[in-house]
Symmetry: C2
Subunit: 721 residues, 2 copies
Amino acid sequence: MSFRHLVRLLSQHETQYSLLQSLKSMEATLSRPPLSFFRRTPPLRLLFTLSLPPLLLASRRLLVSSCAQGSDGGRFVARPSSELRRGISETSANTSRGEDEKLISLRQIFSRPDVAIDAYIVPSQDAHQSEFIAECFMRRAYLTGFTGSAGTAVVTKDKAAFWTDGRYFLQAEKELSRDWTLMRSGTPGVPTTTEWLNYILPPGAQIGIDPFLFSFDAAEELKQEISKKNHQLILLKEFNLVDEIWKESRPEPPNKPTRVHDIKYAGADVASKLSYLRSQLSENGCTAIVVSMLDEVAWLLNMRGSDVPHSPVFYGYLVVGLDQATLFIDTRKVTKEVLTHLTSVGVQLKPYHSILAEVESLALKGTKLWLDSSSVNAAIVSVFRSACERYSTELNNNSSNQNIHYGGPDAVYKVSPVALAKAVKNNAEIEGMKNAHLRDAAALAEFWCWLEKEIENNVTLTEVDVADKLLEFRQKQDFFIETSFDTISGYGANGAIIHYSPTPEDCSLVESKNLFLLDSGGQYVDGTTDITRTVHFGEPSKWQQECFTRVLQGHIAIDEAVFPERTPGFVLDVLARSSLWKVGLDYRHGTGHGVGAALNVHEGPQSISFRFGNLTALQKGMVVSNEPGYYEDNSFGIRIENLLLVKEANVPNAYGGIEYLGFEKLTFVPIQTKLVELSLLSPGEIKWLNDYHAQVWEKVSPLLHGEALDWLWKNTRPILS
Amino acid sequence: MSFRHLVRLLSQHETQYSLLQSLKSMEATLSRPPLSFFRRTPPLRLLFTLSLPPLLLASRRLLVSSCAQGSDGGRFVARPSSELRRGISETSANTSRGEDEKLISLRQIFSRPDVAIDAYIVPSQDAHQSEFIAECFMRRAYLTGFTGSAGTAVVTKDKAAFWTDGRYFLQAEKELSRDWTLMRSGTPGVPTTTEWLNYILPPGAQIGIDPFLFSFDAAEELKQEISKKNHQLILLKEFNLVDEIWKESRPEPPNKPTRVHDIKYAGADVASKLSYLRSQLSENGCTAIVVSMLDEVAWLLNMRGSDVPHSPVFYGYLVVGLDQATLFIDTRKVTKEVLTHLTSVGVQLKPYHSILAEVESLALKGTKLWLDSSSVNAAIVSVFRSACERYSTELNNNSSNQNIHYGGPDAVYKVSPVALAKAVKNNAEIEGMKNAHLRDAAALAEFWCWLEKEIENNVTLTEVDVADKLLEFRQKQDFFIETSFDTISGYGANGAIIHYSPTPEDCSLVESKNLFLLDSGGQYVDGTTDITRTVHFGEPSKWQQECFTRVLQGHIAIDEAVFPERTPGFVLDVLARSSLWKVGLDYRHGTGHGVGAALNVHEGPQSISFRFGNLTALQKGMVVSNEPGYYEDNSFGIRIENLLLVKEANVPNAYGGIEYLGFEKLTFVPIQTKLVELSLLSPGEIKWLNDYHAQVWEKVSPLLHGEALDWLWKNTRPILS
């Protein structure tokens, strides 16, 4: 069946289908990187109606080359992303007043006959839409010198512009050379990248991208937007232009060994996971799927790696057919143990860079290929579509009757079935999460005990010192691997910066005059944690107490919520805000994101957010964060975050004959009662706080001794109403 | 611009637009009849992608003929819809065992050369998608003998089937003749009308409808569904087949005089309303609009009528152009006063039945016509489209260059701008609503006082007696016109039937052994009311008290909600359910609907519902009901309903620099404290109840004296925690 057939079929499904699809793609998009959790532009939904110009789809030389030698053994730890970014920053020379050398070099490539473009877009992504990426893929950071996590660079023959959001305006002003124009996204009058391109380029320009770095949906959206000015999107998949100028100084792709994720933590073996995935293929009339999200690959294969900071994943694509499965990976990362593990379940290995050739051959085999176009990159999708079209044309030419329905290859665009399967944790994963959270709680108790004493003794400590010390406490715990994201250690006004990440060169002292917000998490072999506490080491103001208490009331309302099965997370969001809204306060981020089991700290498809596009129901076994907050610019920030497990609620009735669900806490760290304005709390809320602290004591005290145990005792005493 | 151009333009707006459009059309659909408030199938969204076969669009003789003589003067009161239905029921002879005579007569028409159909669908609608309809349009009731408010009849040459929902299964079993098959909608295995037609008819059948009785969207959805079996939809707009067999016994169309709605209640004059509407036309590139919803016509023209029960509206279409406006109405209904009123603002009159001719002539004048295809009927839209196509073809034939862009007529499909304007009440409308509610509260206090005494004295009273007596008390109030819907007077198990409507032949006694639910409302010259109270005249069980208290907690949570501007109503819905969910209870209807100011008791576009398709924000000046409930089948029903006005909340902060909104109560009638389980309420909830009762006393006591005043005093005393 050709693509045109697909389009027709889809439109017969009516807009009802398209609406659902839109919302699904929205939910998939909303739930991925942390940026998407906090702010995200509406996603593209044109994926079914556009086709790429065939000339761009012709087979070319591939970007992804096999990597240089050198492995440093079996350590799990990757460098934290902040450190990676700092490394890149040091190599950039963007402080000069004259013309930026990297821009000159990049523009020289524009006119090469095999390139021939008028502009090039450099996003922050890797080829897998990862939240945290390896150093060698930090092309945007290398080109611009800007080391923040989010931003898009666009270079034309005579202009260079860089888009980033409010979190990074100051940092970008410092780090960009004078040849860059800073585009403050979200500020009135600031154009989007495509609006800018449509404005500054004469009609019919050629705009190049590396199609590995855009999901197919994102590339289609881009193409559609620039077509308004008759610009063409050029998919340059043979090489990345930034890599061409980065040359020898470009770090090598990561090649640390992968490992097997023990069945006692994984809970389900690879055979049964693949079997489930194949049943999904059959049900959807597909014969294969390309899995490209790194956490999905790791989850399906019960493997872990350390290619990127904060997430125990490894670079690879997995192609699963009805009776074979192939992992595309730098084979140097495959240890004997992993090889035995994979061979036993019939998973073959192929080089990472051979994925495009494989996709092409799948088309020639007549594969009905499941592609999640919101995550699979435009290089893979366009190669497959191009191969399908060629194959269809050949068949049509050979057939005398054009109406004969032949069984040609075809793409089926659907949200990956792995995301939901991975989000619903099994008993072993839940057990691992619970155990990891108790060890994490012990580390945090020791940490808070230490910090309180240091502050009391007037020891000078920066936000970074504090974060480093927290890491030390976590490192003492069994099974600890690394932080699950860059620690947000924000004192006073810095606490109001939602994604604040202090650097040694530019951070505050932690003192006793204002609130201190600490959002951190750990990757353990058996689980992943994410916790925020806000404390005051001196005397909080009445106003701070009121704000803290209203945030706490929102936190309690989510924690205590009971809801019928099939309820999407956004339905609950208002419970977290209601107490703040009562006095005209609010916060500008979602209330909860999914969390992986010994995997990504942010995962989909579920969320709890005021953005009501995500229709995914909260289901038994899912893990979500519960993190309402309040932020007063230039003053202080408050956030209280626990992780919650969705489970059956213990209710006496079952109206409608359905299940009612609720939450079980995973996080057990005291909440500072000094910050609570008791008169605002209802008796039920006071009971919640006292019950929680009783549980914290009961569960965490066995893991502590000495001063930390005393600290825990003192900080889990009931408050009286 | 041709229709094809429009389709192309729309698809360029991307699916983003289509999503919005879908949700808008959903919201428009969801908010109309009361059925839509409680249960509704997803609406059609294919409106832009299909075209009707041109042969169906050829001009034919029109259905709507001018009416017979006879007016009975200026009384405002129309017969209640229950009475109208009973009248029709009596004339039907569907109790015989042999073949149904109406079906025989109807089928004889099928084979007439000017009809030539294999099946005919008879819906419950009139030509304006009204919630309450005039007797002469109750064709479905006449044909089937079924007198309930909802249902669809489908007749083929040898079968007759009738679809209705769970509320009406028992009633339909009683009222339908043996020749009808009852289709219990929503029961597993029961097909929809179109599934049934596709199953029983051989491919390529001709299925007829009266296109006046289907919105254009509904007709398109139908067409699409039956096309799966290659059936064709035949729009028989010359005559209604049921009218053909109804003949002389068919009641005459209503012809009672209309009246001017005084500016002191309307608050804005017709000139300014038309001026606003014209600015909307200009902004949207339109030169005219067809307004077909009866409440929109009445609101725009500051006119009221009594053509249908429960709503002070009159049958008419309004066509507004940039510098003229024409009301299509049976001119016998236009008094001298109304004529003067209309003439002064330049509104012309034309006969009601000339609307199709007008629409045709609009096309020939090159009009860009705004059509809300979710409410404007398929007869009007198809005639306009057909005329547009003819005009375009002529122009194309006369033009040597096909690429020349000519300024031909065109349809612009958008939700009517009148609905939102009407929903946001001005100060005079708010004042009228408040005054009407106080008088209504006085009537209810007198009523409850009377009823309590009667029950105490063991007087035998049926649910109908009680409803009739309530009407008497309302009738004593100034400006009362009629009930705003059929009173739901449900004792015991009947209270669990959400749309229960007792009849004298089949209703319970009201006693002191169980709960009594009373949902009623009044139409006053200055406002519209809708209130539900649930009481127990004896000793409620602990369980009933718990359920009542949880419903009350939901009611209080909505009442006290504060929310940022732009919040859609569905965001608040969870607040109404949260306390019920905590113990595994719920209710299967929405929490709030819009209410008109001296207009329809159910209006859009806003709502508060678990159906999150309605993205309309709650805005200052809107009126919504707050009516959570709980229903235990075969046992009892609980509902507590007040009307609320959306207004600016009095909050000390304004995070985000935006407005925070809240509610002001319009309804002031005591809530029975005997039913409250105090231990479940928080101190804040107890305070709410006491404050409310203090307000009730303060506002309503001046309107009462004697026993009713005593009753009010007793029933507004604070409860102690």
